[in-house]
Symmetry: C2
Subunit: 811 residues, 2 copies
């Protein structure tokens, strides 16, 4: 139809059809190489169609019949050819230069491409011996695809060579960068879908080059695949002018090389030349930096591949466009079971890929083609980096006890739990200079973790100003990774862990919801990995949440959301752990445990401000090991059934619950109160539902069978109800937590609005003990008038009264 952009733009220049048009004009392949490349690609494409359609007759030795087809046709054809085309072209360079390369498949549902390659490389049969390299193995290989009990149409954990599923789009580039940090010889060849490119996370992740050091890190080689269409729409990047497209990637800090067209032979030559140029650029920049010892930021090469969606399929079917249109997205011919003509068409199409030439009578890839792939671990589907647990080295850990905060008596001394933890973290970084990084969105300093800069500064390959010397803590080579994109830093960390290293993310609590979905997907990935025998366990993903809701009083309502825990609790109990250490020594003990663990997502919630300290190191270790326990020093029910249980989970809620306990004991000294603290949230859930869950007997030993429990919780209160729903004594739990009430308040006021302050808690306890009669009512009156008094002072002064801010345990 023509151009809608102002100015002269030629639609022809952005067509995916025709002879190759490319930035690099060379044609490096010999006739023989060209033929082998194309044959190998066609063999792979044959396998893709086989996966989509067949459950019998895998090599089409018999005429194709409906009974050879799967009953329900599922799977995606759209991006397969472009991905295979790129994969095969890279094989030549891996062999020529002995490269260490992994392949990251970004486009959604592009798994047939990489699975077919893994099969051709023999890796599939190595890890799944029943999918052997013979006719019956091939039949099983086809049938299992998108078939109940089989494998999915994404590059799931079952896919050899994959560390990126691509089910939810947007993370291919950030994952790729994560894999190459501290892997100086690795190249992550990353196919990026043009659909995926429209997502926010992908759009900003192109900037990752400002954090890549050419001396210590490897390289990401993106191939932006302008496949042209999403499910049902054209893609943005395939429909803008050439000038805009080129400018965009220069703007992102890359050197774009174009490869565009549909003619296979000229395209193979163009891609071979372009990939080789890109690899040479990468090697050249690395050499220059490594030989000079001086890091710099080149405009790294990237490739823009424009090819028709469903490339090599029929251009039209029944008068409608297929190849080069969105109709090629999923099953290209969906009516083969009902239409004999379409069945014939499919057969003809499949046979056009020459299965009988490329596979022997007994179903083996012919030796000439077998040689096209690299060997051993150089095969991209066998690269151990993509099964990172295999190459994971243990983290070297200092003894966390050496960072203990002195605590002589609980609830008396105030200390900076978070900046103390920073010392431990600093020394972990120092002991593991190539094996651990700290990630965060511009908040490490604000989160009181700046102490780590002594062991590793913030990586920065943007420009430097003179000011940076004045406490900027920036360096070409560092250990702290900060960009104001939760998506990007999470993606980097996931990639870093998936490729066999260790790390931690620190974030403000309220904005961690930005990556709910990414964390969900990582949980699903590591859970599925447990079912895949050949996958080795990776290090846990540790997320430290701070700047928590109870100290976001001044930032207001938008900064108050502790609900990430609800999202995490929905994930499989096999892979999620949640800890709320009440003080500094517990924080050390919990973090030590998390860093040593594997295959979990550990979420740790701890505030960054100074806080009261409760347990010395020995007591902290014991408490954290149990996960929940009675604090005898704060209880006065020793040897007896208490009148009421005061319970807490989280640092600020613990202080308020302790203060409530003190108020009650002051006003009614004969009251027997038991104080219980929960560190490990999953202790509350029934034993059968989570490995950490308490038995009913243990639960009652803490919370009693029938006394009222006032439970002060860090997050939304109903999470506790949910976890304890099946406990018979559940109705005795009176849970307080954040109730979505807040604005610009003092901490006390914020707590009062959510009824988690000491006065409200103590009143709640009294309300649950009507048996106290007048004593209770009179204490209640005193509590209410104290609450009003302090609230008024705070409102007038704009700051909580000294007695509240510096409260200490009085017994």
């Amino acid at each position: 139809m023509g151009s809608v952009v102002e100015g002269d733009v030629s639609v022809e220049s952005i067509s995916p059809f025709g002879k190759a048009r490319s930035t690099i004009k060379e044609a490096p392949l010999s006739e023989e190489e060209l033929k082998l490349t194309d044959d190998y690609m066609r063999a792979s494409l044959y396998l893709c169609l086989g996966m989509l359609y067949l459950r019998q007759n895998p090599l089409l030795k018999e005429p194709l019949k409906v009974e050879h087809l799967k009953a329900r046709l599922l799977g995606h054809w759209g991006s397969d050819a472009g991905q295979i085309f790129t994969y095969v072209a890279m094989n030549r360079l891996i062999k020529k230069y002995d490269l260490d390369v992994i392949f990251i498949s970004g486009p959604g549902h592009g798994a047939p491409a990489v699975i077919s390659q893994a099969y051709l490389e023999g890796v599939y049969s190595e890890v799944y011996p029943d999918k052997s390299e013979d006719v019956e193995g091939l039949r099983k290989f086809f049938k299992q695809f998108s078939f109940p009990g089989g494998i999915g149409s994404h590059a799931t954990p079952e896919t050899p060579g994959s560390l990126h599923e691509g089910g939810e789009l947007g993370y291919s580039i950030s994952h790729a960068f994560g894999t190459v940090f501290d892997h100086p010889n690795l190249i992550a060849l990353t196919m990026v879908g043009d659909g995926e490119s429209e997502t926010g996370p992908l759009a900003t992740s192109w900037h990752s080059t400002k954090f890549l050091n050419p001396i210590t890190d490897g390289a990401v080689l993106p191939v932006l695949h302008l496949n042209g269409y999403k499910i049902n729409n054209p893609t943005l990047l395939a429909r803008i002018s050439h000038r805009e497209l080129e400018a965009l990637f220069i703007g992102y800090g890359w050197t774009p090389y174009f490869v565009e067209g549909s003619d296979p032979m000229s395209m193979h030559q163009a891609m071979a030349a372009t990939l080789e140029k890109a690899v040479q650029d990468i090697r050249g920049y690395q050499k220059k930096a490594r030989e000079s010892g001086k890091a710099f930021r080149p405009l790294w090469p990237m490739i823009i591949l424009r090819s028709p969606k469903g490339w090599t399929g029929p251009r039209t079917v029944d008068g409608h466009y297929l190849e080069g249109y969105w109709r090629a997205h999923q099953i290209p011919l969906p009516n083969v079971a009902s239409s004999p003509e379409h069945l014939k068409l499919l057969e003809k199409w499949m046979k056009s890929y020459n299965p009988e030439k490329y596979f022997t009578e007994d179903g083996k890839l012919i030796p000439e083609l077998k040689k096209v792939a690299p060997e051993g671990n150089r095969r991209m589907s066998a690269n151990p980096v993509a099964n990172g647990g295999l190459i994971k080295k243990p983290l070297l850990m200092p003894d966390f006890r050496e960072y203990s905060l002195p605590v002589e008596k609980g609830g008396i001394t105030d200390a900076a739990s978070m900046s103390n933890f920073a010392n431990f973290l600093r020394d972990i970084i120092q002991k593991n200079p190539h094996n651990f990084r700290l990630f965060g969105p511009d908040e490490t300093e604000s989160n009181k973790l700046g102490g780590v800069y002594a062991a590793g500064k913030k990586v920065w390959l943007g420009e430097y100003f003179d000011e940076d010397a004045d406490g900027g803590n920036l360096a070409f080579e560092g250990r702290v990774m900060e960009m104001l994109s939760e998506h990007t830093v999470e993606g980097w960390l996931e990639g870093y862990l998936l490729s066999g290293r260790h790390g931690m993310l620190n974030s403000y609590e309220p904005f961690i919801h930005i990556i709910d979905s990414m964390v969900n997907q990582h949980c699903k990935w590591i859970e599925k990995c447990l079912e895949v025998e050949w996958r080795a366990k990776i290090a846990s993903l540790n997320i430290l949440l701070t700047a928590t809701v109870w100290r976001q009083d001044h930032n207001g309502f938008t900064h108050q959301d502790p609900g990430f825990l609800d999202v995490v609790c929905n994930k499989s109990p096999e892979v999620v752990r949640i800890y709320l250490p009440p003080d500094g020594n517990c924080l050390l003990s919990v973090m030590d445990h998390c860093f040593r663990s594997s295959n979990y997502v550990n979420v740790i919630v701890a505030d960054k401000q100074n806080h009261l300290q409760y347990l010395d190191m020995e007591a902290a270790i014991e408490h954290c090991t149990k996960g929940a326990g009675i604090w005898d020093w704060a209880s006065n029910d020793q040897g007896e059934e208490p009148d009421v249980v005061m319970a807490s989970c989280g640092d600020v809620p613990t202080m308020e619950a302790l203060a409530a306990t003190a108020l009650l004991r002051e006003y009614i000294p004969e009251l027997k109160i038991r104080f219980v603290n929960v560190v490990d949230l999953f202790k509350l859930i029934p034993h059968g539902d989570h490995p950490h869950g308490m038995t009913q007997r243990d639960f009652e030993a803490l919370f009693t069978a029938n006394r009222p429990v006032i439970f002060n919780f860090h997050s939304y209160p109903w999470l506790i109800h949910r976890l304890t729903a099946q406990r018979p004594s559940q109705q005795n739990l009176h849970v307080r937590g954040y109730n979505e009430k807040g604005n610009i308040d003092t901490p006390l006021e914020l707590a009062i609005r959510n009824r988690t302050d000491r006065f409200s808690l103590a009143m709640e306890a009294l309300d649950r003990m009507p048996e106290l009669g007048n004593k209770g009512s009179s204490a209640r009156e005193k509590l209410l008038s104290s609450q009003i008094k302090y609230r008024t002072i705070a409102f007038n002064e704009g700051i909580d009264p000294e007695e509240i801010r510096n409260w200490k345990w009085p017994f």
Copy 2:
């Protein structure tokens, strides 16, 4: 320090200091205009510092003392000057060309800038009469800022002229586009922080130009503010080469105009000239398109403003950089209370803005400056678009009953609920051609809503290919907005609603988690608005979730996550509603209700596949109005206490629960079973906790006080436990739902893995009725063997058996 980019890049060229350097070289301001502009800016800057520091002595008539200061200093200085600078420059053009402009403040914590402008324009005193234009009003205005009981440091709902808070970063551009769609004369002047620019959602939202029609829509004029620093780090875009920066925005489809420097007078001239050029460009493109009737996509103008962070503050303090460094981010001089020197410095600094010249003795802005601002609704802080409820027109609605699906008897007929609903939606679109849009991430067709294209196609201002005529449904002017970025489409919709229109988002259920955080923030915004008297209610944000977990069996584990409901349930009951209509007529009734509502986030979960139909329209309306009820036609306990209650919530779970009921009644005919269905999820919560919550009496009238209830739920089961935690009969609820188990399965197998299938539910019911003795055990055996039989068939065939797929209610 110099350049780290390969090639010759001059660090000087990206310095924020010095005389103005700009693309447009003109100097349009007269001496008089220049002076007034600068004075007005200085008056505004004075107010910013006042807000940050003062609770007394607002015009510094007395020497500044510690007791004049707030006890706790909170607030942000960093981006204030740049924003004020831009705001003031736009005022001139609003007056000159009578422009209709709103100001969107993207940079985090930049509220002092816009609040001070609202005060100078008199709007603040109009909406908050106690913050009057006199000394006492000014004192209150200063004190309330970031003070308990006062207002926050973001552009919160309390801020006149704001419809974008900027608490969580990343949405300024998508919000801005939402406001200008169908507002052809509006310009959204949008300050974009360079910190915010690093977020994914912001990075992709620049592409919104491909969806803006110059005939029917207004324009977004972005001012990317290269303020240089985030909390503690330089920003990426301020530290890349000029060439990269310019290329980036050309690549995004804009024409960037630069304004860079720190010298106020030359900067005012440069900004005045540049803004004027941008406005002329906009008007020119619009004129060309409107006069020719031919839409096109210009490279719209945008401005890149580079100025020092904390501009106009002291460059250094105590030997450390302040202006032009990250230390200027928050309170620029934090130690004024303890340091007499810093207190003096602050006083001197504040006085340098000449309060005594710009404000009269009794605290009024002097008349010469008062005239700098536009008048009435042309003042950006008074623009009614930013209080969208004011200009909202009611949605014209066809009668939803006219789209009824015929249902003679429940559970017998199969129909396409979603594509039937599409007819209703199509006619809403048709009746409201400028007042309603449908948003989604490339899934409208896949979600069976393609019927709407008859009333409005997909807006597309990218290039067109010939293929598009073959079912592309693209148009320059349309009503469906699709981009593969949940963030962008959600941001557009929010902006569209906030500026007074109506709309709906449709999305696959699993990937809605991508925008958890955005929806959270929108909920918080509309909840706060309820407390702001002058805010008018806006239309509800309607989110239709489809492609649900129980029909994502083939896409596998990554596509299975119904947990968005947990996130929504954490928000204030004042603003959230969740509906799970069990069939097509209920879907129509629910959607009609949602479209008519205001100030809610309505979440509707309904699958897109064909489903059994249960209720005729009359019954559906009655059922949806009640929100939960007994289905007599599926129950056989009439007039008696049932032996067991079978309950369901969600379409697929309802079918399985009905099938379980039928199996039980077949095997044990004397069993009395009551069937209960829940449409409105918040019916379950206690009456006091949500306006929709049932009283305990109503709850027991449905679920009984003590009979076992087998509750089959669409989402994670514990959400039901959480909602019913305080119900005395809670322990009788046996909830089944998605348990995070799935892979490539048939629907039956997926249900079995999560124990939500008919056989498991019936067995569960029997297990809860040990009183049935042998009858129960024998029925249980039959159920188990049926389950195994059907499971085996499905596993072998790859498709569920006919009896399962086409099951009908047999009674």
